[in-house]
């Protein structure tokens, strides 16, 4: 079941579309913002609201990498792995993050459920490479010390 707030938000964006299914991506993002990820149940909730089948909606959802169809931690770290960040030391940053978070690599979540680490393509801040985002904040010119300080801010 969608919450009243989720329903309202979806209804608001759906107004601009001739048919409900046009708002599929936005609806998924809205519900993901509230719930953290899109479970099968959430998928079904959104599909019902948009008069789509779960298959039709999953066809759209699984195309887009920022719709999470698996659970994520409380905070999602997106580490840029594109060319400028790679030139500026991405490999090293990845190793630092893996060690600090004590996880095996991309796709994993810390034991305390705090962070999930994911790769992401160019984040559009190449002049500050290497960069990562945590939730909606961008962090650039990363090094080991900066990373420690940044991670410490998140619970």
């Amino acid at each position: 079941m969608l919450t009243p707030l989720e329903e309202e938000e979806i209804k608001f964006v759906a107004e601009h579309y001739a048919s409900l299914d046009g708002a599929a991506i936005e609806a998924l993002k809205i519900v993901q913002r509230h719930r953290g990820w899109i479970s099968d149940d959430s998928l079904r909730d959104v599909a019902e609201a948009l008069a789509m089948t779960t298959t039709e909606l999953d066809s759209v959802a699984t195309f887009y990498n920022l719709i999470f169809r698996q659970p994520v931690g409380r905070h999602v770290i997106l580490l840029c792995d594109s060319v400028s960040c790679w030139i500026m030391g991405y490999d090293n940053i990845l190793e630092i993050l893996k060690r600090r978070l004590n996880i095996a690599g991309f796709g994993h979540t810390t034991a305390d459920g705090r962070f999930t680490l994911l790769p992401h393509v160019c984040l559009g801040a190449c002049d500050r490479a290497p960069v990562m985002m945590i939730d909606d904040r961008l962090y650039g010119e990363l090094d080991a010390d900066k990373i420690d300080a940044i991670l410490a801010q998140y619970e």
């Binding site: 601009h16 579309y17 001739a18 299914d21 046009g22 708002a23 599929a24 991506i25 936005e26 998924l28 993002k29 066809s59 759209v60 195309f63 887009y64 990498n65 920022l66 719709i67 997106l78 792995d81 594109s82 060319v83 400028s84 790679w86 030139i87 500026m88 992401h120 393509v121 160019c122 984040l123 559009g124 801040a125 190449c126 002049d127 500050r128 490479a129 985002m133 909606d136 904040r137 961008l138």
Partner: protein, 424 residues
């Protein structure tokens, strides 16, 4: 040197509010267009300015607008779509403009929509540009409250609904027709052309998609005129350009400069040259899907025609500088892996060819390359050409590869011969 695009961007503070923007002369161009010019006059002015699209394709903006059916019998509603899906690796110039002066783009959107008589406009903003998103929300509300958006703008009779849509990822959304499918709530698969979007676009209606930077130029062109705009440039094509540099330069960043400054100028005067310990080896002049240029090309003007003659593309105009301590094979591997991952999966050559190239490049980089590998790489640079694939992603993807083989084939051969990466 006039810098119309960045003149409102003051260091150490956020973007201008609407009041500040107006005070600095903002929305005067809008007034001029809506109250003293006809839509075709606006299009005509932009055509004469020689403004070329700043998203990478470089199509003449005014000419694209002229393909839109006009008049009472034209299909309605018509759409203007802002391609703010900046995801080309090495590119960060639109972020600059979106975060730095959202009203400038909004004004450009309204004028452009007026020119093609679009009644609805969408800003298709890539995910993860959260600062820009929030700034745009504020600016849009301000513009709506002031009556620059909505019905009967400035009493002209022209109305525009402007909507902000944030994507859910995927580089292919930057492809014009894939973007339209994403806006329609579908998988972002490109569409076959013809029909072209100005005739059959969003929801089957006439649609113009323009890049952020392209639209930011429009208010200035309208306010100061086409001739003025042409005068800003060092080349036949008008205006200034937001150039950028990333990689191991001293001062990576973005700068507004006349269209046509040379690579050397950007690199040495603005980016401060190479850092200590490394020297220049190559550059991708316009982002990941452009051909590498070498030290022989440092004096090539960064405009559309000159870069093309030199064997590359201006693309987005944000350079990725490659130093001599960075492995070219690794670089190309990183780039091809990006494109392979972002392939939408529709057509065979891109879907299957790019991951195969990734596999080969990974092997070569790790010292497991085999003698026939370079030939396979080379074949693909021809096979994944325009027309053989469904869209331009794969042809763009092989541009750095084909140039790497052209200028640095020895690097590849060394990896294969020595069965290791000599740069590690």
């Amino acid at each position: 040197m006039e810098k119309p695009l960045t003149r409102n961007m003051l260091p150490g503070r956020g973007p201008f509010s609407l009041a500040e923007y107006e005070k600095a002369g903002g929305y005067q161009a809008l007034r001029k267009a809506l109250t003293t010019m006809s839509p075709s006059e606006v299009t005509e002015t932009v055509q004469q300015s020689n403004l070329r699209g700043r998203g990478g394709a470089g199509f003449y903006t005014g000419r694209k607008w002229s393909f839109v059916p006009m008049g009472e019998d034209a299909p309605q509603p018509k759409y203007l779509v802002v391609n703010a899906d900046e995801m080309e690796p090495g590119t960060f110039k639109d972020r600059f403009l979106l975060e730095g002066d959202p009203h400038q783009m909004i004004e450009g959107i309204i004028i452009s929509a007026y020119a093609i008589q679009a009644s609805v406009a969408y800003i298709f903003l890539r995910a993860n540009y959260d600062v820009a998103y929030r700034g745009l929300q504020v600016a849009l509300a301000e513009a709506q409250a002031k009556g620059y958006l909505g019905e009967n703008i400035l009493g002209s009779g022209f109305g525009l609904t402007l909507l902000l849509h944030e994507s859910a990822g995927r580089y292919i959304c930057g492809e014009e027709t894939a973007l339209l499918n994403a806006l329609e709530g579908k998988r972002a698969i490109p569409r076959s052309k013809p029909p072209f979007p100005p005739v059959v676009g969003l929801w089957g209606k006439p649609t113009i998609a323009n890049n952020v930077e392209t639209l930011c130029n429009v208010p200035h062109i309208i306010f100061h005129g086409a001739e003025w705009f042409r005068s800003l440039s060092r080349s036949a094509d008008g205006g200034t350009k937001i150039y950028g540099a990333s990689g191991k330069v001293r001062r990576p960043g973005a700068w507004e400069l006349p269209l046509g400054v040379t690579i050397r100028e950007i690199l040495e005067e603005h980016a401060g040259g190479m850092r200590d310990g490394v020297s220049f080896r190559a550059v991708l002049p316009g982002g990941a899907s452009t051909d590498l240029l070498t030290a022989d090309h440092l004096d090539v003007p960064m405009d559309f025609n000159a870069v093309q003659e030199a064997g590359s593309r201006l693309g987005t105009g944000t350079m990725v500088v490659v130093d001599d301590r960075t492995c070219i094979v690794g670089l190309v591997h990183n780039l091809i892996r990006f494109f392979a991952q972002e392939s939408c999966g529709w057509c065979t050559p891109c879907r299957e060819g790019l991951p195969w190239l990734t596999d080969i490049l990974a092997a070569i980089e790790k010292g497991r390359g085999e003698p026939g590998d370079i030939e396979i790489l080379r074949q693909h640079t021809h096979l994944l050409g325009p027309g053989n694939t469904f869209c331009a992603l794969a042809p763009g993807a092989v541009e750095p590869l084909q140039s790497a083989l052209k200028y640095f084939e020895e690097d590849f051969e060394r990896h294969i011969r020595e069965q290791r990466c000599p740069w590690k």
